[in-house]
């Protein structure tokens, strides 16, 4: 049913837009232009430049180079396979925690975020020490059975590591979506005789599709653009490492690196767009919100056993690198052996002096970044799904493109554009002011929050907002009182993924930090991990980073949980 809309004039009416929407659109557009488009364009234009004039010859070269064609297919293959691996791990975990009465569901949700926090370099060393050719697992296999498993070799190694690393994207978004499903849907299905697998595959999972697709699209885009894992495994014939190797070679003015970056951006956006297409013309929205999601039930004994076994295996696999980091941080020397030679707390004492300030900086920067991300993400999602503003899809796609922008490129661009802008009073450069670092994180992590927010809004029925407007709320009030609270689960998932991944961002950090006092943990880890003696202290800082993120995540869930309980109480009272 369409409600009598407030009277609007001309274009605004045709776009189903109010001045409030225009302000939102303006804010988002200004942010993207100032901190993404302009800085990146000043760096990437080399791809379109032959020394005298604009050209597309470098793009033609890309398609004529067999290594690049091979790299493109490898990247697509790896990204698709990683989505499958991540799905196999994440879907059961999400379903168990949302569907069943389960001790420690919050624990699973928190532990499920940890794999995203892979501290730079430390994570690489720990992965090798656990799963590498001569890592703990393979050394044990050699001792006991006389063979090795190539966990970390070639493209399959990349798929294995990426799947373990990025499944939380699906876990978080799917859990949020599942929690949003109206229990009435499920009850109707049950009344009609559906149960078990039928109920899950025909009703529950399809209704949670926006969350799953958001997560899967993120895994795809992230794996497609990720360079840390391929570099760690020394797999060069993929697009992202090719771009990175060419952009970061000292003194090389090779346009191909920027050509590859541009192609990465385009392909990532296309992938996300295709995934959204699969949701088109279908309705996932439900209206009743009081019930609090699917009804939870107790598990039978054997089911419980199966569920716990699955969770144990999945979490052990996913968290073993973090266990490796913990051992590394406590190890004296760990070389070619299953466990370290001896244990010590000395590394924690070494980093103790620096760690406090870095921890505070990390929480501050990443908190600000994640906050910017969910605010912008909510605005963009709302503009795309609720208005007919021209270019609204373009805003979404540009924001999404940030997933494929290398941190180094963004960092150089920001220095180039903002270094000469001086702050009032202190006279410090805007580019090296800490807020700029938070903004750089926000730009790089915006796609995560955006997908989560979009998924949450897709599940929210329009009639709720219309009802509120009918009762006299204007757009901004409706947004604040109705839309945002009802999207809370998705917004939280977006906040957590942005926060957790920003905590270990290195490339832009290395360019924009100018003083130890304003450095976050990722910088400290980098500094230590440049020498053999710094490996232990670096790992100790890595452990601290993981703990900080875990506490922040847990706290975020507690806040959300309390909020939900409060609203439920108010609902009952009303």
């Amino acid at each position: 049913m369409t409600l009598p809309a407030p009277r609007r004039v001309g274009l605004l009416a045709r776009w189903e837009t109010t001045p409030f929407h225009l302000i939102c659109a303006g804010t988002v557009a200004a942010f993207l232009v100032a901190f993404l488009i302009v800085p990146v364009a000043t760096v990437v234009f080399v791809a379109f430049w032959d020394g005298q004039s604009l050209t597309l010859v470098h793009f033609a070269d890309f398609f004529r180079t067999s290594l690049m064609i091979e790299a493109t297919w490898n990247s697509i293959y790896v990204a698709l396979m990683a989505v499958i691996v991540a799905t196999i791990i994440a879907v059961p975990l999400a379903y168990f925690t949302v569907r069943f009465r389960f001790k420690g569901a919050a624990l699973i949700q928190t532990l499920g975020v940890i794999p995203l926090v892979m501290p730079p370099f430390v994570g690489a060393v720990a992965m090798q020490l656990v799963y590498g050719r001569n890592g703990s697992v393979n050394l044990l296999l050699m001792d006991w059975f006389g063979f090795r498993l190539p966990f970390m070799e070639g493209l399959n190694g990349v798929i294995f590591v990426q799947g373990l690393h990025y499944f939380p994207f699906i876990l978080l978004n799917l859990s949020a979506s599942l929690a949003n499903i109206d229990s009435a849907m499920e009850e109707s299905a049950q009344n009609l005789g559906a149960s078990g697998w039928t109920l899950f595959s025909k009703i529950v999972f399809p209704l949670a599709m926006p969350g799953y697709i958001a997560g899967a699209a993120l895994v795809f885009a992230k794996v497609f653009d990720d360079l840390a894992t391929p570099l760690l495994l020394n797999v060069n014939n993929m697009l992202a490492p090719q771009a990175y190797l060419r952009i970061t070679s000292v003194g090389l003015a090779d346009p191909m690196g920027y050509v590859i970056s541009t192609i990465l951006v385009v392909l990532s956006v296309v992938a996300v767009w295709l995934s959204l297409l699969s949701l088109k013309n279908r309705d996932f929205a439900t209206t009743q919100r009081g019930g609090g999601g699917l009804s939870k039930r107790e598990l039978r004994t054997w089911e419980k056993f199966g569920a716990y076994a699955f969770i144990a295996v999945a979490l052990i696999l996913a968290l073993s690198p973090h266990f490796g980091i913990l051992m590394l941080s406590l190890a004296t020397v760990w070389s070619f052996s299953v466990i370290p030679d001896a244990f010590t707390f000395a590394h924690y004492i070494t980093v103790f002096r620096d760690a406090g300030g870095m921890m505070a900086n990390t929480v501050l920067y990443c908190g600000v970044a994640a906050l910017i991300d969910v605010v912008l993400g909510t605005m963009i999602a709302y503009l795309v799904l609720r208005t007919k503003l021209p270019f609204r899809q373009l805003i979404d796609q540009i924001a999404m493109a940030a997933v494929a922008v290398p941190g180094l490129v963004l960092g150089i661009g920001i220095l180039r554009v903002y270094f000469d802008v001086k702050l009032p009073f202190s006279g410090e450069s805007l580019a090296t002011f800490w807020v700029m670092l938070a903004i750089a994180y926000a730009v790089r992590r915006l796609p995560y929050a955006l997908r989560s927010c979009t998924a949450a809004l897709q599940q929210l029925h329009r009639s709720l907002e219309e009802a509120a407007e009918c009762l006299g709320g204007d757009k901004s009030v409706v947004m604040r009182k109705i839309v945002v609270p009802l999207m809370a689960g998705g917004i939280l998932a977006g906040f957590v993924t942005s926060f957790a991944t920003a905590a270990v961002e290195l490339a832009s950090t290395l360019l924009l930090v100018t003083r130890d006092a304003s450095a976050p943990l990722s910088y400290g880890i980098y500094v230590y991990m440049q020498s053999a003696a710094g490996r232990g202290p670096g790992a100790a800082l890595g452990v601290i980073a993981v703990v900080v993120v875990a506490i922040a995540t847990w706290a975020a869930y507690r806040v959300a949980e309390n909020d939900r309980a409060r609203r439920a109480r108010e609902g009952v009272a009303a």
């Binding site: 970061t248 053999a532 003696a533």
Partner: protein
């Protein structure tokens, strides 16, 4: 009386004049790729000598450091302090460094076969390092492999899959090693050697420190690294050893003052300090372990400390031609990536078959087998361009920054595609030939 007063006045002026000359700015900022283990002892010693000046260290990777200095021209950091000589060349060419003549009595004018300081005075060598072989003793024992001593040892089949290196395009020091081998053995023979060693690689790392990291953890047993990586890892307790092969190159690690630096005097004092007796002594710290450029500083070194000024083997065998190296710098990097780094799988498969065929032919003693094997070896160690072509500006220019004063060469991508095809085809063919050689009776 008047005379006395005027003398004391003159003295006073002289004293204050000296004091003014000595007063350093209250801080100096240094961009560096060195770890805290290296920087902290220097910073502490410097601040002890000049209590009024605070040293601010900004840790950045070499790439990020160069980019930062380039983008912050209006208000740059004061100094750049790093190993890679190529980074300093890039800064110098971009007019981002300023000249200075450091107080360096007692500093050797040459270390190894290269001058200690930049001849034009834009950057200064404060420590020397040589390339060599680092190995994990536990790993070698467990795999029953002998310890390598020379580059040629790394060609042996027994090291198959046990050796690692960082790509020369990613590491200025690896580049110098590659260039030294090319100049020492000649272009064709040098590439043949590197491809044969490359046949034994477990991986080609994208950053210099990736190699010692992997050897320290025992991911592979043998790494081609710069000395201080091996020596400092050993000093930190890892079960590793380091050896210099007979043909090695000794290169200086550098510091330079950035053009437009705000704290000039403090920056100059820091350079002078690094080159002074006190500064050079810090290099012997077990966590740093770099070679001083003052020959006298070795008196305090522990027994067995490498000394390029007395050891005739260290870096003096090869006369390094800097102009030759510079003219083909980018090309050599790209070529190495094309035929080794990005085609490592194909290269190692070819050499694996060749090693197997070697053993089989030794047993069968088949003439046909020997012929096929020789052909396979030739293919697996061939380089797509000649030495003359590599220095031809029309070709090498394609890999350098476009400048109005340079003729527009063909595009880099075109050469790269040709080399890639050459490598793939040769390695595949070499593998087939070697497999046939193994079967020949």
């Amino acid at each position: 009386m008047l005379k006395l007063a005027s003398i004391s006045l003159a003295a006073l002026i002289a004293v204050t004049g000296v004091a003014a000359a000595q007063a350093l700015e209250d801080r100096v900022t240094i961009v560096t790729s060195f770890s805290r283990d290296v920087t902290t002892p220097f910073v502490d010693a410097f601040q002890k000598k000049y209590p009024g000046t605070k040293v601010e260290i900004q840790n950045r990777s070499t790439t990020a450091g160069v980019a930062f200095i380039r983008e912050t021209r209006s208000n740059p950091p004061d100094m750049m302090w790093a190993s890679a000589p190529d980074a300093f060349e890039v800064l110098k060419k971009g007019n981002l460094l300023q000249k200075y003549e450091p107080k360096s009595e007692g500093v050797a004018p040459k270390v190894g076969s290269s001058p200690t300081h930049d001849p034009q005075g834009f950057y200064f060598g404060f420590a020397a390092s040589g390339y060599g072989i680092m190995y994990n003793t536990r790993y070698l024992r467990a795999n029953n492999i002998p310890a390598p001593k020379e580059w040629d040892d790394l060609k042996k089949p027994i090291y198959f899959g046990h050796v690692g290196i960082s790509a020369p395009s990613r590491s200025g020091t690896t580049h110098l090693t590659v260039e030294t081998i090319l100049q020492g053995e000649g272009w064709d023979k040098g590439w043949a050697s590197m491809l044969e060693i490359g046949g034994n690689f477990a991986s080609v790392s994208d950053r210099s420190f990736g190699v010692p990291d992997a050897v320290n953890s025992g991911q592979y047993g043998v790494g081609i690294v710069i000395d201080f990586f091996g020596l400092s890892a050993k000093a930190s307790g890892f079960p590793v050893e380091f050896v210099y092969p007979t043909v090695t190159t000794i290169v200086p690690a550098n510091i330079g003052i950035v053009a437009g630096a705000k704290n000039q005097r403090a920056a100059q004092a820091f350079v002078d300090f690094l080159l002074s007796e006190d500064g050079q002594a810090v290099l012997l710290d077990p966590k740093i372990q770099r070679l001083p450029v003052r020959p006298a500083s070795y008196a305090k070194a522990p027994a067995g400390y490498p000394n390029p000024f007395t050891d005739p083997n260290l870096g003096r065998r090869v006369v390094f031609d800097g102009d030759l190296s510079e003219g083909r710098y980018e090309l050599v990097n790209s070529l190495y990536d094309r035929i080794v780094t990005f085609r490592l799988k194909e290269l190692t498969e070819a050499w694996k078959s060749i090693h197997a065929a070697d053993a089989a032919v030794a047993k069968s003693n088949s003439a046909e087998g020997k012929r096929l094997l020789a052909e396979a070896r030739k293919l697996a160690s061939a380089v797509p361009i000649t030495e003359k072509e590599a220095s031809d500006p029309a070709i090498a220019g394609a890999f350098q920054e476009k400048r109005p004063d340079r003729p527009v060469a063909a595009r880099q991508a075109e050469f790269e595609e040709r080399w890639d095809a050459f490598a793939r085809q040769n390695y595949a063919q070499a593998k087939t030939l070697a497999d046939n050689a193994a079967r020949a009776r």
